[in-house]
Structure formats: structure tokens, C-alpha cells
Amino acid sequence: MSPTFYLYLSAILFTIGTLGVLLRRNAIVVFMCIELMLNATNLALVTFSRINGTLDGQVMAFFVMVVAAAEVVVGLAIIVSVFRTRRSASVDDANLLKY
């Protein structure tokens, strides 16, 4: 099977993630959609690695995973503290700062 199909899949996943960030209201789900975008990137990196015949892409996928893990730590800490304060994780409720 041509590896190009994996690129299409990764583009579709990235688009779903982007739309999810823009459309969903729950901060946790928004964050999951961002993770989906990062994982779509990993799929693209690994596929390009195969197409190009170099391993750089696979190594970069590990970097992206590590950074994503660090981002989860920071992100969940922030989302949980906001939830404990407001009893809500909806990004629409975070509306004190505007204009």
C-alpha cells in the first residue's frame, strides 16, 4: 500500500483536531483535540521518514511525544485548578477578561 494514504489520514486527523479545538467547549476535550493534532503530526513524520528513507522523522516523533507529555502535565494542572475554582471546565465560562 502506498505510504501516501497515511499522509491523507494524518491530514484528516489534524483537521479533525483543529475543528475540535475551535468547536468544542470543554477544556479537557479541547486539550484532547490538541493532542490529536500532535499525534497526526507524528503519523506524518513517520510516514515521511519512510518515504524519504531517513530516520530523522522517527526520532522527531519521539521528541514530539516527550514534549506532548510535558504539555499534559502543565495543561492538566491548569485545567484542574480552573475546574476546582469554577466547578466548570467550559471554556465559554472563562469570560472575565475581554475586549
Partner: protein, 532 residues
């Protein structure tokens, strides 16, 4: 492919390379990397201090450690000025612009750290006693009564500085991504750590985090597409691939667009500036000063390196985009700033407008000319110092429940505390670009570079935007000096040694660069061009 992974490649990819290839040690020029190693090491030590030093002594230990580390890193940068070297297997480029930007980042970080130390060690600290406590809960009151202070702000800030040093030095996209995250992740947390108005602070952290993570996802996908096009993410390889093939491949165009979105987000250029006012307003003021100055300096360094070194061959494609972004950024920063009533929000829109002025020089570049690069470097120094100083003054004007940020509270401040109001007015003149401040020469330099690069329309928009921003700066000066103060006006905190030092550094740099700009302009001229 780098030889280090050729070995693994041979095992996994049939026919990729000879499996007997040796596994060479990467060459690291430790001297060139020293500033980053010092700051990263001090940040790590700071984490250990949190674990092992008794609570009462942590604040002072962390302050000494962090300030000492920054001064040592500054010495390392200054002693490295002759180095022009691409090291760490091509991952990090220590060249003139890198050293100049690293020196600037460290200098403004010292100023910001003085403010952070002041507000972390003071009896009425501005950082949450325990950020995990629910605002208004009994647990929070207990933490405040026990005198807890989050001294973790110091290692977090130092990690952010380490990221700011790596970000503009990165010479491939994956290193740049790591630098981007190392600088951003601590700032997300720091933004949510205010002791007062904690709902605003937490909201700022949430918005900054979600939007920042969103933009870094764009960065990595852009990186993946560029990797697919060029077969490598090293800037030199990308430039080679661009020069040896026909233009218009969607992979590279879309890839560069995605990278550009993330970088323009970081330097708060329109239309990706929406986080800036919210985060600047909600974050504790010393942190706002730190990220307003440091992040923008580092992000401009990174943007210029990506555009000039890696994507110079595509300059006909990205120049119109940068033109558009610069115009929209200047107009948004100037026009929306007029309606602001909160001083931190107003300074946020001012910082957006400054990003636009800086982008005029980037858009005016014909790749290879040094003027626009050096003018941006000079502007970043001037902007960094005036920003630290202005936010230091904002920190001092207080009500019973913390800072009095609403502009209605600043009415008549010049009558009550002429010195503080006078210094703030001086910084506002610098933001507006009026003599005798560094802001004037910074604007002259970028507009001249833009004009000579053929971006005359940008200069015209820049002039008009400057006039609009000058209106809102002067409005504050009028409000402070020519209106009667309210009876229950805010008190002005007597500045401590730390804050005074930060303000003095800001005033001195702004004034000296305003009177004798030439030495620094020469230095910036010697720092360019980028090493390719």
C-alpha cells in the same frame, strides 16, 4: 541523515546504510553553548533548592542563585562575542544575532527577575501562597496565614529564560520546537500564579495554555510537511532543497504557512494576537513584564532565522504575507489600544503595535542585506528595557487589594507622586518614539530599513499607527498630570532596592540609547548577518 542515526537506520530500513557504520560522538562546542548550559543548570539547581532548603531560606537562596546564574550567563555571552559557530551536529547556531539576542534576553531577564524577587519576597507577595488552593477557601487562608510563598517561580522563570536562549539559537526545526516549548510551558504556569484576582489569573493561564498549545501543534505539523519536502529539518538543508527545485510545491508552502502561524502567535502579531491582552492583564505584573520583553525578543530572533536562513529562497512568497501581517498588527495594536481602560491591557496593545513596527523591517528585507536585521536587533533592546521599566511602575501603584490597574485610578497621579508618574511618562514617550528616548532611534532604524527594502507602504502605515499610539500614550500623561486627583486615590508603594534597580536600569538604558544610539547600532551592525 546524520551519521548518529545511520546505524539505527540500517537496522530498520532495508538497504538504507551499512550496518557496520560506527556510532560517532556528536561534537559539542561547550564554550558556545555555555550561556544556555548555565541558565538550564541554575534552573535545575533551583528545583533541588525547593526540595532540600528549609522554607524560610528558600526565597533568598533562589534569588541569589537565579541572579548569579543570569550574571554568569551574561559574562559567558560577552566572552563569546567572537564565536561564529554551528555546533551540536548542526542543531544550534551560535552566531552574531544569536549572541546579541541572548545578551538582550539575559539583560531584560535580570530586570524582570529583580521584579519577580521583589514581589515574591515581599510580605504582601503578589504570587499565590499555594496555587493549588481554591480561591477564597479556608485552605487558601491557612496557606496565607502560614506565610507560604511559591518560590518555585524562580526555577520556572529560569527554565523560561533557558528556552528563550535556545529558541533564537536553534538551527533546525525540532530544536526550535523544543526551545519554543521550554520557554512556553513555564510561562503558562507562571501566568496563573497571582495571589490577588485569582480568577483572572487562572483564566489567563487557561487561555494562554490552550492557545499556546494550539499554536505549537501548528508548528510541529508545519515541521512535518517541511521534512517531507526537504528530507531534513536543518535550515541549511531546507535552503539547499529550495534552491535546487522548482517553487510552488504545496508541501513547502503549507509547511511554511503553519510554521509562520506559530511564530507570529508567539510574537503576538495579528491576527493571532488575541491571547496577548488577556494574558498580560491576568498574569502577575512581574511575569507580564518578563514575557512581554523576553518572549518577543526570542520570537523575533527565531522568526528572522527561519525566514532568512531556511526560507530565504521563498522570500517572494512570504514577503507579501509579512507585509499584510505587519499592517494588520500595527492597525489593531493602535486602534484597539485607544479604547482600553486598564493600564496592563493598554500596554499589551502597545506591545502588539510594537510587534507590527518590528515586522515592517522584516517585511522590508531583501535577503542578504544587513540593515533590516540589525535594525530589528536594536529595536528589541530598546523595547525590552522600556517594557521592564513600565511594568515595574505599574507594579507600584496600588490599592488596598493589590494593584490599581484601572486608568481611572491613575487620574492625578502626577500631583501625588511626581517622580513615579514622571518616570512612567518618560517610558510612555519612549513607547511613542519621541525624543530623547531610545524609542525614537528604534523606530527610525526599522522604518529606514523598511523603506530602503522597498516597503514604503509599510512605513506610511507605520507612521500613521505611531501617531494613533502616541494619542493614547499622551492621553495617559494628560490624565496623570493635568487632572485633579481623586480623594481616595491609590497609594504608591515606596520602591524597594530590587524594583528601584529594575526601574533605574530601564530609565538609564532608554535615556542613554536615546542620546547616544550609535554604539549599540554599530554593535548590532557587527552582529549580523546570520550564519548560514
Amino acid at each position: 541523515m546524520s551519521p548518529a542515526i545511520a546505524h539505527v537506520a540500517a537496522a530498520l530500513l532495508p538497504g538504507a546504510a551499512d550496518p557496520t557504520t560506527s556510532f560517532p560522538t556528536p561534537h559539542l562546542d561547550y564554550r558556545a553553548l555555555l550561556p544556555m548550559l548555565i541558565v538550564g543548570g541554575v534552573a535545575t539547581l533551583g528545583v533541588l533548592v525547593e526540595a532540600f532548603v528549609p522554607r524560610g531560606k528558600r526565597g533568598i537562596t533562589q534569588t541569589v542563585l537565579a541572579l548569579g546564574g543570569l550574571v554568569a550567563a551574561m559574562v559567558a555571552v560577552v566572552s563569546n562575542t567572537s564565536i561564529r559557530n554551528i555546533t551540536a551536529e548542526g542543531a544550534i547556531s551560535v552566531d552574531g544575532p544569536t549572541l546579541f539576542i541572548q545578551g538582550t534576553v539575559i539583560a531584560v531577564s535580570i530586570g524582570a527577575l529583580l521584579l519577580i524577587a521583589d514581589r515574591a519576597l515581599a510580605s504582601d507577595a503578589d504570587f499565590a501562597a499555594q496555587a493549588a488552593d481554591v480561591p477564597g477557601s479556608a485552605a487558601e487562608q491557612a496557606s496565607v496565614r502560614a506565610g507560604f510563598v511559591h518560590t518555585e517561580v524562580f526555577p520556572l522563570a529560569m527554565f523560561a529564560v533557558a528556552g528563550m536562549l535556545l529558541f533564537p539559537a536553534a538551527n533546525d526545526l525540532i530544536t526550535m520546537f523544543v526551545g519554543l516549548e521550554v520557554l512556553s510551558l513555564p510561562l503558562y504556569l507562571l501566568a496563573g500564579m497571582a495571589r490577588r484576582r485569582r480568577l483572572l489569573s487562572q483564566e489567563a493561564a487557561l487561555k494562554y495554555f490552550l492557545l499556546g498549545a494550539f499554536s505549537s501543534a501548528f508548528f510541529v505539523y508545519g515541521m512535518a510537511l517541511v521534512y517531507g519536502y526537504a528530507g531534513s529539518v536543518k535550515f541549511a538543508d531546507i535552503a539547499t532543497a529550495l534552491s535546487s527545485s522548482t517553487h510552488g510545491d504545496p508541501l513547502i508552502i503549507v509547511g511554511l504557512a503553519l510554521l509562520g502561524i506559530a511564530l507570529i502567535f508567539k510574537l503576538s502579531g495579528a491576527p493571532f494576537h488575541w491571547w496577548t491582552p488577556d494574558v498580560y492583564q491576568g498574569a502577575p505584573t512581574p511575569i507580564t513584564a518578563f514575557m512581554a520583553a523576553g518572549t518577543k525578543i526570542a520570537a523575533f530572533g527565531a522568526l528572522m532565522r527561519v525566514l532568512f536562513v531556511a526560507f530565504g529562497g521563498l522570500s517572494w512568497d512570504w514577503r507579501p504575507i509579512i507585509w499584510g501581517v505587519a499592517i494588520v498588527t500595527m492597525v489593531v495594536g493602535a486602534v484597539i489600544g485607544v479604547t482600553q481602560t486598564d493600564v496592563k491591557r493598554l500596554l499589551a496593545y502597545s506591545s502588539i503595535a510594537h510587534a507590527g513596527f518590528l515586522l515592517t523591517a522584516v517585511g522590508g528585507i531583501t535577503v542578504g542585506t544587513a540593515d533590516s536585521e540589525s535594525s530589528v536587533l536594536f529595536y528589541l533592546v530598546a523595547y525590552g528595557f522600556m517594557t521592564i521599566g513600565a511594568f515595574a511602575i505599574v507594579m507600584l501603584v496600588r490599592d488596598a487589594d493589590g494593584e490599581a490597574n484601572h486608568l481611572s485610578r491613575w487620574v492625578g497621579l502626577g500631583r501625588r507622586s511626581p517622580l513615579i508618574a514622571g518616570i512612567f511618562a518618560f517610558f510612555l514617550l519612549a513607547f511613542a518614539g519621541l525624543p530623547p528616548t531610545s524609542g525614537l532611534w528604534a523606530k527610525v532604524a526599522v522604518f529606514k530599513a523598511a523603506y530602503e527594502g522597498g516597503a514604503a507602504p509599510l512605513v506610511i502605515v507605520g507612521m500613521l499607527a505611531s501617531a494613533v499610539t502616541a494619542y493614547y500614550y499622551v492621553r495617559i500623561i494628560v490624565l496623570m498630570f493635568f487632572q485633579e486627583p481623586a480623594v481616595d486615590g491609590p497609594t504608591v508603594l515606596a520602591p524597594t532596592v530590587f524594583t528601584s534597580a529594575a526601574v533605574v536600569i530601564g530609565v538609564a538604558a532608554t535615556l542613554v540609547l536615546g542620546i547616544v544610539p550609535q554604539p549599540l547600532l554599530d554593535l548590532a551592525g557587527k552582529a549580523v548577518p546570520f550564519l548560514r
